[in-house]
Every structure is written in structure tokens, then in C-alpha cells.
């Protein structure tokens, strides 16, 4: 203190004030900042506690131990190659491309992510592709010292080779069910790309095959079931955050050739390198043409256009959250308005699915709320992002790889909080972004379309993970450790029937009804629904290019 006295000797009160006056200002600003943060945090915690939505990942699938599983692949096209990478097998060309791309752009982590991917303890023992170039590509990359991989000219030879325990099917739609049924009946496990089937009849047959062979583990490739934001959405719905949901809007918005199935035609494609009859199968016998072979999604005979390729994703994303099952009624319309290139599947499509008896749970008088419409609205001529919205009486949820919930200004549930000013309907009451703080590289418009929908990757412990990898891993774990895949035969059955109803309604131009008791799509007398579904020429004049 003596020192202090000496220090301040010669200072007037005025001098001290002028010297130390900044200290209270500093204190005031500092505490104002703390206070502001505390208030914001309290409000946030209050809402989070009130909503109580858990952003928990699903239980991890079981260990990959034991003898390596022997996997066969049928269809080494665009999707087949992606699936193989998720399984742990990349082509030499892809590895070289990715190394070069990573050298140019340090943010490109695709190669690094691939190398860091867990080893699934499998052997890729068999490949079947009816295009020689692709089959040889596969062999060159995968038939190595530590992994003997054989090519089979015919899928039945592959299934019955005794060299595979499980197969992955990534072929055109019209081959999905025949191959899956043959494998299941032979006791081989199956991972099948969507849509599960190409006709209504096949849907029953595949389900029957699965019921008769319960030991064969069957999974449909709707990988978004692994997406963490969807699991968070399920919890939000279970907690009745949205109130009664009366309308769901799902959309496809694409405006590029790849997104409109104008895939590349390989220069070496010819009747010599392609087994054309094997491609056609039960489809109408038409002369060899590369357009049909590489861009098969554009014709009903092999693919199913928007309803089979893209509606199935959106339907299953919602079915995974709500478990609402097959719609009672479906109406669809659309046409070929942007890509008049000889295709006969629509490029603009609007589908309304009615679920008159379904409810997500209400917050108003009992029996006041019941029934829901799911809209799927698609265009391949514009990519304005319309997103996916679940619209409830109390709140709306925007759903993608992120999840955002807004309270509705007229909500019953949040009425008091809105009046107190604690909830602002313009500001989200809940936001979940598993990638917060990170920005991911997406490489093309179509890739961005899938990423935004949560179809490309998801997050575990804040780390980006390929959702297809998790989906395949889940299937492999069910084979090794038991359990049911998240998208098994029942979910696949519902997906396929809903998609076929949409395709049928588009073609016949009327409301299509599902008889839940009899489990049939109601047909008019003398009407063969599958024949209509497959017919390349069937449809209203407007639907023909």
C-alpha cells in the first residue's frame, strides 16, 4: 500500500478518473456480451428441452468378423461401380483420376475417404456384365492376387456357381426381380437396387420368394435410411413436434443431361461386345441399339422413368420417417416437355398420393385431424431447389441432409410461446446440420441433387460417411450377425407398389386405388395393369414425344 501511495502521489482525483475511466467501460461491455450470450443460450436450451428432439445415430451394425463373405456383382454400370467402391473395390482408373483430382484440389477428399473406409471383410469373387468392355474393366481392377474374381456370361451361372454367398444387383429395372428371385430361391443373400421391381406381379413373386427363404437376407438399396438427419426427423415426428401433418411436398428438380438419363454411350459398344438378347430378356424384341442399352431409363420396357428412378427415393425417405405404407389412391399426370428425344417416360411428373386414414398425431380436438396427401412433383427441365417439406398444423419441417423446423403462426401447440414472443415463426425452432462448420465438395449438378437429399452421404460423430457404405454394411451385418435390414422386403414391397400405382395412373389417366385388404391395385374389368405399365406405346397423346 505504501508503494501505491507513492505511485499515485501527485495525481489528482481528476487524473485518476482520466487514467482509469476505461476500466468500468471495459467491464460493462464485457458483461453485456456475457449476458447477451447467456440469454440466447437460455432461450435455445429452453426450446431444445421443450422439443426434446434427439439427434442420435442408429445403432451401429455388428462386427465384420469371421470368414470373408464372397460377393458377386451383376451389372457393372454407373451404379454398380459406385456400389463396389462402397464395398471397398475401386477401379484402377478411378483411383488414378481421384489421385490427380486430389493433387489439383486439396479439398477433394474422395480418395482419402475411400482409403479410410472400414474393411468389410469381403471378397469380390464374381462379376456378370453383358458388355465385354465393362466386364473386363472390372476384372482388370478386381481380379488380383488377394482377390480372385471370375466373370460369368450369364447371371444364373453366377448365382449357381457355388462361388458366391451374396449378390449385389445393379441392372436395368426389368431385370431386378428375375435375378433377385433366382438368387433368393438358391439361398443367396441379395442387395437389390431400387425400384425393387418393374411390374406389379413381380412384386408379389419376390415377396413370396423372400417369405419362403427367410435365411436369405434381402435388402433394397435405399441408402438414405442411414442418413442421420432422417433419424432425427423420425424422433421429431415421434415427439409430435409438427402436430398433424396434412401435406408433404417432395420434389425432383434437375436440369442437366446426366440427370435426364442421357448417359454416355461407350464408343466400343457393338453387337459384338454386348449380349443384346440378354439385355432384352422379356422386353419386346427390338434391333440392337446403343441408345436403349445405355439410356434404358428412358423407356418403360426397361426402366420406369421418374416414378421408378426418383419417386421411389422420395417415397421411401418419407415412408422411413412416417411408416405410412401404401397410399389408398394415387393420381399422376405429366408429359415429355423438355427432352423430346424419342423417350416415352415423362420428364415432368406430378403425383398425388392419398392416405385418408393416416395421421402423425394431432394437437387439436380428437377426431378433428386425419388423412394426409404426399405430393411428388418432378421436372427434368429446371433445377430450382424446392426441397422437401412436411407441413403440420403446428410446424413445418424442411428435410434434406439438414433438417429445419419452423413453428406455424397458427399453431395450437406453440400458441402461448408465440404470444410470449419466445418463438418467432420466421426463425427455425430447431435446426440440425450434421456438417455444421464443414463445407463439402460436390462435383456435379446431379451429385448435388443427391447430396442435398441426403442420398449421397451422412455423418457419424461429425465425420462424413458414404450412406451407401453404411447401407451395405448393415446388409452384411444382418448376414453375419442376424437382424433385419432397415429396407427389407416389406419396405421394398410398399415402395414398388406405390411407384407402380404412380406409373399406372400416369398412363391410364385416372385415379388408381389400392385395396389394402386384398393387397391388389384395383383394375377395370379386362384391364391388364402390368401390360399397361410395360407398354412403350400406351398412354395419352400428350405423353408421346
Amino acid at each position: 500500500m505504501a508503494e501505491d501511495k507513492k505511485l499515485f502521489k501527485g495525481f489528482s482525483r481528476r487524473d485518476l478518473l482520466k487514467s482509469l475511466g476505461g476500466i468500468p467501460i471495459l467491464g460493462a461491455v464485457w458483461f453485456a456480451g456475457i449476458d447477451q450470450n447467456k440469454k440466447a443460450k437460455l432461450e435455445r436450451d429452453f426450446l431444445l428441452e421443450k422439443l426434446n428432439i434427439k439427434a442420435t445415430p442408429p445403432p451401429e451394425s455388428g462386427p465384420m468378423s469371421g470368414d470373408p463373405l464372397r460377393i458377386g456383382l451383376i451389372g457393372f454400370g454407373i451404379r454398380g461401380e459406385q456400389l463396389m467402391r462402397s464395398l471397398g473395390f475401386a477401379t484402377n482408373e478411378w483411383l488414378e483420376d481421384m489421385a490427380a483430382s486430389a493433387a489439383r484440389n486439396p479439398n477433394d477428399k474422395r480418395l482419402e475417404d475411400f482409403r479410410a473406409q472400414e474393411n468389410l471383410n469381403v471378397k469380390l469373387t464374381a462379376i456378370c456384365d453383358i458388355f465385354d468392355v465393362r466386364a473386363e474393366d472390372a476384372l482388370r481392377s478386381f481380379n488380383k492376387e488377394n482377390n480372385t474374381c471370375k466373370r460369368y456370361a450369364n447371371y444364373l451361372d453366377l448365382i449357381h456357381s457355388g462361388e458366391v454367398d451374396a449378390i449385389i444387383i445393379a441392372t436395368p429395372d426389368h431385370w431386378h426381380a428375375p435375378m433377385a428371385i433366382a438368387a433368393i430361391e438358391a439361398g443367396i443373400h441379395v442387395y437389390l437396387e431400387k425400384p425393387m421391381t418393374h411390374t406389379v406381379q413381380e412384386t408379389y413373386e419376390l415377396r413370396e420368394a423372400c417369405r419362403k427363404n427367410p435365411k436369405a437376407v434381402f435388402a433394397v438399396g435405399h441408402q438414405h435410411r442411414q442418413t442421420q438427419s432422417f433419424l432425427t426427423a423420425m424422433d421429431a415426428l415421434a415427439k409430435n413436434t409438427l402436430g398433424h401433418v396434412s401435406l408433404i411436398m417432395t420434389t425432383t428438380n434437375r436440369n442437366d443431361d446426366n440427370g435426364a438419363w442421357q448417359y454416355d454411350i461407350h464408343p466400343e459398344a457393338s453387337p459384338k461386345t454386348i449380349d443384346w438378347n440378354a439385355f432384352l430378356g422379356t422386353a419386346p424384341k427390338v434391333p440392337f441399339n446403343t441408345e436403349h442399352f445405355f439410356r434404358w431409363r428412358k423407356w418403360w420396357a426397361y426402366g420406369s422413368g421418374l416414378s421408378g428412378d426418383l419417386l421411389t427415393h422420395d417415397y421411401d425417405r418419407i415412408n422411413c420417417i412416417l411408416n405410412m405404407g401404401i397410399p389408398k389412391y394415387v393420381t399422376a399426370s405429366g408429359g415429355i416437355y423438355t427432352h423430346r428425344d424419342g423417350r416415352n417416360v415423362p420428364d415432368v411428373m406430378h403425383v398425388n398420393m392419398e392416405f385418408p386414414d393416416f395421421t402423425t398425431g394431432g394437437t387439436q380436438r380428437e377426431d378433428k385431424e386425419k388423412g394426409m396427401t404426399l405430393v411428388y412433383s418432378a421436372t427434368l427441365g429446371n433445377q430450382f431447389e424446392r426441397g422437401t417439406v412436411l407441413m403440420g398444423h403446428d410446424a413445418s419441417m424442411e428435410l434434406g441432409n439438414t433438417l429445419t423446423i419452423y413453428a406455424d403462426p397458427r399453431s395450437t401447440k406453440y400458441k402461448d410461446l408465440i404470444e410470449e414472443g419466445r418463438i418467432d415463426p420466421q426463425v427455425p425452432i430447431f435446426q440440425y446440420d450434421p456438417s455444421a462448420g464443414g463445407v463439402d465438395a460436390v462435383t456435379s449438378a446431379t451429385a448435388k441433387y443427391f447430396a442435398d437429399k441426403g442420398l449421397l452421404w451422412t455423418y457419424r460423430d461429425g465425420k462424413r460417411v458414404d450412406s451407401t457404405f453404411l447401407h451395405i454394411r448393415e446388409w452384411l451385418s444382418c448376414i453375419r450377425n442376424g437382424g433385419e435390414p432397415s429396407c427389407g422386403i416389406q419396405e421394398g414391397f410398399e415402395e414398388a407398389i406405390a411407384a407402380h400405382m404412380a406409373g399406372l395412373s400416369y398412363k391410364v389417366g385416372r385415379k388408381v386405388e389400392w385395396d389394402e385388404e386384398k393387397e391388389v391395385i384395383i383394375a377395370l374389368p379386362g384391364e391388364d395393369l402390368d401390360a399397361i405399365l410395360l407398354d412403350n406405346d400406351y398412354g395419352l397423346p400428350i405423353q408421346k414425344a
Binding site: L7, G10, F11, D15, K18, S19, L20, G21, G22, I23, I25, L26, V29, W30, A32, G33, I34, Q36, N37, K38, P106, N107, A436, G437, G438, V439
Partner: protein
């Protein structure tokens, strides 16, 4: 202070106010960020429209936590220095550097995307004006009039006056 013309007391008060306000702004920004654990400059840096490779390097996995810590520390120290009237010359220079970085990441140059702003800017924006204010503060130090440095100034003068 070796100024030939002495500032009037009103001029000094105006300069002190300017110093306090700029310091206030820096300090508050720093405190808010300090107590928001999830805050990061990553988004701002990655969305840079100018000198992109430099700013995305700052935002990279290995750099971002250092950058965030340094940013918060700099905001707090500059703010405290300006308010308290301690090392204000150093604080002003550091502040100018920091503001120019913010400015250059999203400069209101003609033809550059402006993103969401609360006003309209052409070449000059509030970051640049605040940097200019700090230049004034640097050139017209006032911490011996109002600030901790008054203590030392008095002390130094003392021997000659007694």
C-alpha cells in the same frame, strides 16, 4: 506528444470518443465470439470472394482453430487496449490489419458478389471506414489524456517537475 499545435479539449474529447467506440465494437465482437463455443470464422473465410486461395488456406483443417483463437484474442486485446488507453498505437495497427483482412475477404469491389449486407457499398464499406478511424486514432494518440498511459506519462514527467 510532440504536437506543434495543441488540440483543443473538444477535439481531444472527440478523438477519445472515437477511440472508445471503436474499442467498444472490437471488444463486444470478441466477447460474443469467446462465449459462443460453436463460433468459427470458417464460413466467412470459405465464402471469400477475393484472394480465395489465401482465405481457404486459413480455413483449412490445420489452420482454422489457430485462426479462430487468434481472431478472438486479437479482437479482445485491441478492444481492451483502445478502451483502457493502453498500447493504443499497437492496438490501432493490429486493428487495421484485422479489418483489412475482413475487408479483403469480401470487398465491395464492382463486379464482386456482395452477398447479404444491410446497406449498399461501392469500394468503401464499414470495415474500411473503421480501419480509417483506427488510422486517425493511431496518428492522434489520446491515451495520455484519457487512459492508463496517463499514469506513466505523469510518472515520467514527474522528475522534471519536482
Amino acid at each position: 506528444m510532440n504536437q506543434k499545435e495543441k488540440l483543443s479539449s473538444l477535439q481531444t474529447i472527440a478523438l477519445v470518443l472515437l477511440r472508445l467506440f471503436v474499442g467498444w465494437h472490437f471488444l463486444y465482437e470478441g466477447v460474443i465470439k469467446l462465449y459462443s463455443p460453436s463460433w468459427t470464422a470458417k464460413g466467412y473465410l470459405l465464402s471469400a470472394t477475393y484472394m480465395k486461395s489465401f482465405f481457404s488456406w486459413l480455413a483449412s483443417e490445420s489452420m482454422i482453430s489457430i485462426v479462430d483463437t487468434l481472431n478472438i484474442a486479437a479482437l479482445l486485446l485491441i478492444g481492451a487496449g483502445l478502451i483502457l488507453g493502453f498500447k493504443t498505437k499497437l492496438a490501432s495497427i493490429l486493428g487495421i490489419g484485422l479489418l483489412l483482412m475482413y475487408y479483403l475477404a469480401h470487398p465491395p469491389f464492382p463486379g464482386y458478389p456482395q452477398g447479404l449486407t444491410e446497406g449498399s457499398y461501392w469500394i468503401v464499406n464499414k470495415n474500411l471506414i473503421e480501419a480509417a478511424a483506427l488510422l486517425v486514432i493511431f496518428l492522434f494518440p489520446t491515451s495520455t489524456s484519457f487512459g492508463l498511459e496517463r499514469l506513466f506519462a505523469k510518472k515520467e514527467i514527474k522528475p522534471s517537475t519536482t
